[in-house]
Amino acid sequence: MNIKATLLASAVALTPAFAVAQDLTIGFSQIGSESGWRAAETTVTKQEAEKRGIDLKFADAQQKQENQIKAIRSFIAQGVDAILLAPVVATGWDEVLEEAADAEIPVVLLDRTVDAPEDLYLTAVTSDLVHEGRVAGQWLVDEMAGEPCRIVELQGTTGSSPAIDRKQGFEEGIAGAEGLEIVRSQTGDFTRSQGKVVMESFLKAEGGENICALYAHNDDMAVGAIQAIKEAGLNPGEDIKIVAIDAVPDAHLAIANGEMNATIELTPNMAGPALDALEAYLADGTAPAKWIQTESKLFTAADDNAAIYEEKKNLGY
């Protein structure tokens, strides 16, 4: 009886793997879990792998490149079919990537690229930070429909590449529009509390009624700023329009509550496109493009934010 049940159970467990994927094993070297977004990326990657019946070997590098290199070598030694790598830094990968190439294991970069010859990796799946800013700017231009607008901007950590690129993209987005101008721009360090503090000073320095819109480089700062606007006796989302980037669950909640107007998604689903490309490549050798850009999707009140919030809140953000 027992033996029979065990056999049956294992047969059931093995069936989908045989049926759907050709028994793929893929190694994933993740940077760590320094932010909610990163945690969500890990969760989504695992979900995507499970959906396709892929055996995903996960390695958390705790922000250290040497851990990532170790993980990749161990993947190579285990003879995985492919490797996903979210590189912690841009340089120093040539050697280990060559080892992977020698073992004929394709490597797909997630979320960031590296300074290495292009033939050492299959493709890179990343978002386009400048593009995200541009979408946010474009949304505001459409929203204002020709009306003038005094904008305040909450920048990310000074000198970080998301802060530089998202600022540049937004400025490009509003470049053509008459009457749209950024009147104050200050860093909120990507944090909620600094977002709130800096917004408070904006409100006082400009006068709340003279601010038409807020552009924040991430949702956390926007969520902080919303509280500052409320405490100043104004209605966020109405008196001051708010657009930010990332589309974390709390932003969807704020949009659902009418306190925020738009957010642009930095999708944690880098693995989906990456696995698609990998499966195609492994099946018949179709070489994907060297850069797969993820979609920078715009969410506004028109979407069902309450539902999205419920869906996203368990991803580990």
Partner: protein, 350 residues
């Protein structure tokens, strides 16, 4: 008691002057700085913001002043803030009331402080190393509590501690003013202040004079942990969420700076909590200048560094001596000649 009031005032005069200058700077870059209105049921204005936003550092520097007075230092306060905020947030999200959450956070802070005190007083580890342990590990602990996310909550009672008002005054202001007063009275109306100073100046002598330095040392680190916990709760309540990664980040340095601007020596000994609190206000006023000036953020740190440098240079003994000499050699130079030369060697005899 009659002797203390004038001497306290004399002690904090330099800090008050600097505060006045920095506030004046605020007024220069933003003429409406002093406008205070009553809006949405609360005091509203830049000056209010300075007091409100200065609350975390003000709270931290109360405990930090005591720790530094014993020749110690507490690098862990920023991390303790994160832990306490995370504790409070996770308690309310688990359905407990705000009172329980506050007590839980304070208990966590006390535990952290006790740990530091134990390392310093019992195991005799150097304070900077002992508290570094928790500074590094603390954020990890906080992240374990929040499970890596920003733990958002909606408990009105808890939120009121950070974002609410008490008779129209933002609660954080009330809290730090109250705690500051309480702490000052606590150390000056009892013998605690003198005993703490005694340990800071010369622990060996103090021990031989019968002072229980071990218990006192643990107590000051405990106090520092409690202050940090309160600051952590306020910061979390302010944004309705516990941000384990960022809550209190680098605030330990601001707290130490506030104590130093308050004219307290890092070598321990004589201390003034009131002066440290003014130090905290000075730092926040400097932040305010930066925010109100509308300069590009690339200049933030440079401006802050320059202003702080200027403050510390003005306070340095050499410059103070120079100012003193310049004043003494004012109009009636010759007859007054003797006084500075009699008084100066005392100060230099360190």
């Amino acid at each position: 008691m009659p002797a203390t009031t004038p001497s306290l005032f004399k002690r904090i005069t330099p800090q008050l002057l600097i505060l006045a200058v920095v506030i004046g700077l605020n007024f220069l870059v933003f003429p409406d700085f002093f406008d205070v209105s009553f809006r949405n049921g609360r005091l509203f204005g830049n000056l209010v913001d300075v007091f409100n936003r200065g609350a975390p550092v003000a709270l931290l520097c109360i405990g930090m002043t005591l720790v530094i007075a014993t020749k110690g230092i507490d690098l862990s306060v920023g991390a303790v803030m994160a832990i306490a905020g995370a504790t409070a947030a996770s308690l309310v999200t688990d359905g407990y009331g705000w009172g329980t959450a506050l007590l839980g956070a304070l208990a966590t802070g006390a535990l952290c402080g006790f740990w530091n005190g134990f390392l310093v007083a019992v195991l005799r580890i150097q304070p900077i190393v002992a508290t570094l342990v928790l500074m590094v590990a603390g954020r990890g602990i906080a992240q374990l509590i929040t499970e890596g996310t920003i733990l958002t909550f909606n408990n009105e009672g808890l939120i009121r501690l950070g974002a609410g008002t008490f008779m129209g005054i933002p609660t954080p202001i009330v809290i730090w003013l109250a705690l500051g007063t309480l702490a000052t009275i606590g150390v000056r109306r009892t013998a605690l202040g003198m005993l703490i100073e005694s340990i800071g100046v010369n622990e060996a002598s103090s021990r031989l004079a019968g002072i229980n330095s071990r218990v006192l040392l643990i107590c000051v680190y405990l106090a520092s942990g409690l202050c940090a916990a309160l600051a952590g709760v306020i910061v979390a309540a302010d944004i309705k969420g516990a941000d384990a990664n960022n809550a209190g980040l680098w605030l330990e340095l601001d707290a130490i700076l506030a104590v130093v601007i308050g004219g307290n020596s890092l070598l321990g000994g004589r201390f003034s909590i009131v002066a440290s609190l003014i130090g905290a206000l000075i730092i926040q006023s400097v932040n305010s200048v930066i925010l109100l000036s509308g300069m590009p953020p690339e200049f933030n740190l440079v401006i802050k560094a320059l202003l702080i440098l200027a403050i510390l240079v003005i306070q340095s003994p050499r410059v103070a001596h120079l100012i003193y000499m310049l004043r003494a050699s004012g109009p009636e130079r010759l007859p007054e000649r003797q006084r500075p030369s009699v008084q100066e060697p005392k100060e230099d005899a360190l």
